[in-house]
């Protein structure tokens, strides 16, 4: 008997469901002891994380097992919280939005089914991590590159499904998905795009198929469990060039973002550009107490010290260029000509050519370095991301950053900006770092986040992604025509998943009261 039972079902029914799960995946694939469940508590939880505790974990090894699990879950009305690898750190990791769900852990489904070298795509299962895919490509000497996110510990498919990003031309991860296999809530199995044909020869070559494209329905949702996905990979270019631009003043954000966003729209810069503040750099390299150990938000004087000691700017943007040597060299010249007069010094790009060591290149190499930032305050740390989507307008972004920074200072949290400049938008990302065992800080962070989301919504800016504790908070801000989108989502949910067994409450869909 477990200590936690899913809502609305009896302990006896839950016991029977677990037995049925064991019959499908084998006893080692079902975990329900306290010791095992605690390995799934969100390591960045605000507090102890027990408010998002699961009741058990079931770990299938194949699509057929997922289908069988779905049928059992319907029979016993057991809600399942699917995770690809459960490393969605900063958004709840493996923990369910609703207390007591059974985590459907797809980590064991980690096959790289196919890599097509010439066509530059692969077909993978959700348990494949960025490290797995990189190792595979390297071991097989396949000249295809992948984009990697700041935390590469997680699943390639899972990150794409939550619309995570990376920093190469393939960095809009959801856009690289081409064709999916999905188990629906009733256990039916569907393939999207050209995969809808039995014997399809172009599943990973064309995204849309015939008729409506359902793929987006399975991103940031709970309408199915993705068991395979096609992913486009980047053919190794002839040359890359990279540089970190440092803009010395806070107000430089206005012109710098306008210039960078224009280069991004024109595809001179082909990747999402990170535009980060001093605490962003310092939190990976050091701890807060090395700069400031007083109360309240870190003062500007400490940030100035970071700028001096770390040789960075108030804003820092890593730029990478990819392509044929002649193109890359021409683009380097364009960027030098645009930025050198304004920055007042020569820009020395690091060039990579085929055959050079991979670390010299601008390719994505998986890393967990970014996780270092959670040690900023000391103790068991975590981070929460406030990330409103805004038009890529320099003045708008700067004014908003100023306002957000002032609010951080008012409540006493250190301001950490990490904007992402996309094709037409800027994600005005402010990371909120905290010590999860500092109760007062956790309360402050919760208030700060709620305030920021509400305030941004009042200006017309919405979040691009949500944390399990705030899925309804964010969903509520998408309120056109009295929350018409939410009504639509809930109608689809009720139709496909009448028992609400897949991730109730994910992204505010099918949320149930406690």
């Amino acid at each position: 008997m477990t200590a936690v039972i899913p809502r609305r079902i009896s302990p006896a029914a839950f016991g029977k469901a677990l037995d049925a799960f064991r019959a499908i995946v084998g006893p080692p694939g079902v975990l329900d002891s306290d010791e095992d469940r605690q390995t799934y508590i969100d390591p960045y939880a605000l507090g102890d994380g027990l408010d998002h505790d699961c009741s058990a974990i079931v770990a299938p090894a194949s699509t057929e097992e997922v289908r069988a699990i779905m049928r059992v879950a319907n029979e016993f009305k057991v809600p399942l919280w699917p995770v690809s690898r459960g490393k969605n750190l900063g958004y709840g990791a493996a923990s369910p939005a609703e207390y007591g769900n059974v985590i459907l852990d797809l980590s064991r489904m980690n096959r790289i089914i196919e890599v097509d070298v010439k066509q530059a795509h692969c077909l993978i299962e959700p348990g494949v991590s960025y490290f797995d895919l990189y190792r595979h490509l390297t071991e097989k000497k396949i000249p295809l590159w992948m984009s990697t996110p700041g935390n590469s510990w997680g699943s390639v498919v899972g990150n794409a499904l939550d619309r995570g990003i990376g920093y190469t031309p393939y960095g809009d991860h959801c856009e690289q998905i081409c064709g999916m296999e999905v188990v629906l809530p009733d256990g039916d199995l569907v393939r999207t795009g050209m995969g809808a044909m039995s014997g399809s020869a172009g599943w990973q070559n064309y995204k849309y198929g015939y008729g409506p494209g359902w793929d987006q329905m399975f991103f940031q949702s709970n309408f199915g469990v993705v068991t395979k996905a096609g992913l486009w990979l980047q053919p190794e270019p002839e040359m890359t060039a990279k540089i970190e631009l440092a803009f010395p003043k806070f107000d430089d954000a206005e012109w710098a973002i306008d210039l960078l966003a224009d280069l991004r729209r024109r595809d001179v810069i082909q990747h999402n550009i990170v535009f980060g503040s001093p605490v962003r750099a310092a939190s990976v390299l050091s701890q807060r107490a090395e700069w400031y150990d007083g109360p309240g938000a870190i003062p500007d004087s400490a940030c100035e010290e970071m700028i001096r000691k770390l040789g960075i700017g108030w804003w820092n943007a890593k730029i990478s260029l990819f392509g044929h040597a002649s193109t890359v060299k021409a683009q380097v010249e364009i960027i030098r000509k645009l930025f050198e007069p304004r920055i007042g010094k020569e820009l020395n790009f690091e060039l990579w050519e085929q055959g050079d060591p991979p670390d010299k290149s601008a390719r994505g190499i998986p890393t967990t370095m970014g996780l270092q930032s959670v040690n900023w305050y000391g103790g068991r740390g975590g981070h929460l991301s406030f990330a409103p989507v805004m038009p890529s307008d320099g003045k708008l972004i700067l004014d908003y950053a100023r306002k957000i920074k002032a609010y951080y200072e008012q409540v006493g949290q250190d301001y950490y900006a990490s904007f992402t400049i996309g094709r037409r938008h800027v994600n005005n990302v402010s990371l909120i770092l905290y010590d999860r065992d500092d109760a007062a800080m956790v309360t402050r962070v919760d208030q700060l986040y709620r305030h920021l989301v509400t305030e941004a919504a009042s200006q017309g800016f919405g979040e691009y992604r949500g944390h399990i504790s705030y899925m309804d908070v964010v969903a509520d801000t998408f309120d056109f025509n009295d929350h018409a989108l939410r009504r639509l989502n809930d109608k689809v949910k009720a139709c496909l998943d009448p028992n609400n067994i897949i991730a109730p409450g994910r992204n505010g869909i099918g949320t149930r009261s406690a």
């Binding site: 605690q38 190792r135 590469s152 440092a246 040789g311 370095m369």
Partner: protein, 141 residues
């Protein structure tokens, strides 16, 4: 010892920082602040960290490379955090000489400070036994 251009700082903590900056800051300015001394022996580049243990005849080493090295080898988050509270020369886990198998297993299953626990789905008990045995190969007998 610190090469931070006369600015006072705590060398033990900023050693790793300066080293990182040398790679992070593509512009020439960052290089001026690189420290004179690396954290312990020279750190392997990330492309090698990712391939740690690949092809090793020792399954424990191979599994360590697959399940642990991404944080605990090279200039990665486990190395940096451990380097803050112990001899930087042994901050990479595979260089430790004080590890015992039971300790390794307890930390993996329970987590430690900022290290999250790893589940028995992610690393089976059988694989963890091999990893722990390999990490303890230079430990107290």
């Amino acid at each position: 010892m610190s090469a931070s251009g006369g600015v006072k700082c705590r060398p033990s903590r900023l050693l790793a920082a300066g080293l990182l900056l040398a790679t992070m800051a593509g512009c020439s300015e960052g290089a001026q602040h690189a420290p004179a001394k690396a954290q312990g022996a020279a750190m392997m580049p990330q492309s090698q960290v990712v391939m740690f243990g690949a092809g090793s005849a020792d399954e424990g080493e191979r599994l360590y490379g697959q399940e642990c090295a991404y944080c605990h080898a090279g200039r990665n988050t486990g190395t940096i955090m451990l380097g803050r509270r112990m001899d930087p020369a042994q901050a990479e886990l595979h260089k430790r000489t004080d590890l015992e198998p039971d300790y390794v297993k307890a930390v993996v299953r329970n987590g430690l400070v900022n290290m999250p626990p790893l589940s028995r789905v992610e690393v089976t008990d059988e694989d963890l036994d091999k990893i722990a045995a390999w990490l303890a190969r230079n430990g107290p007998k």
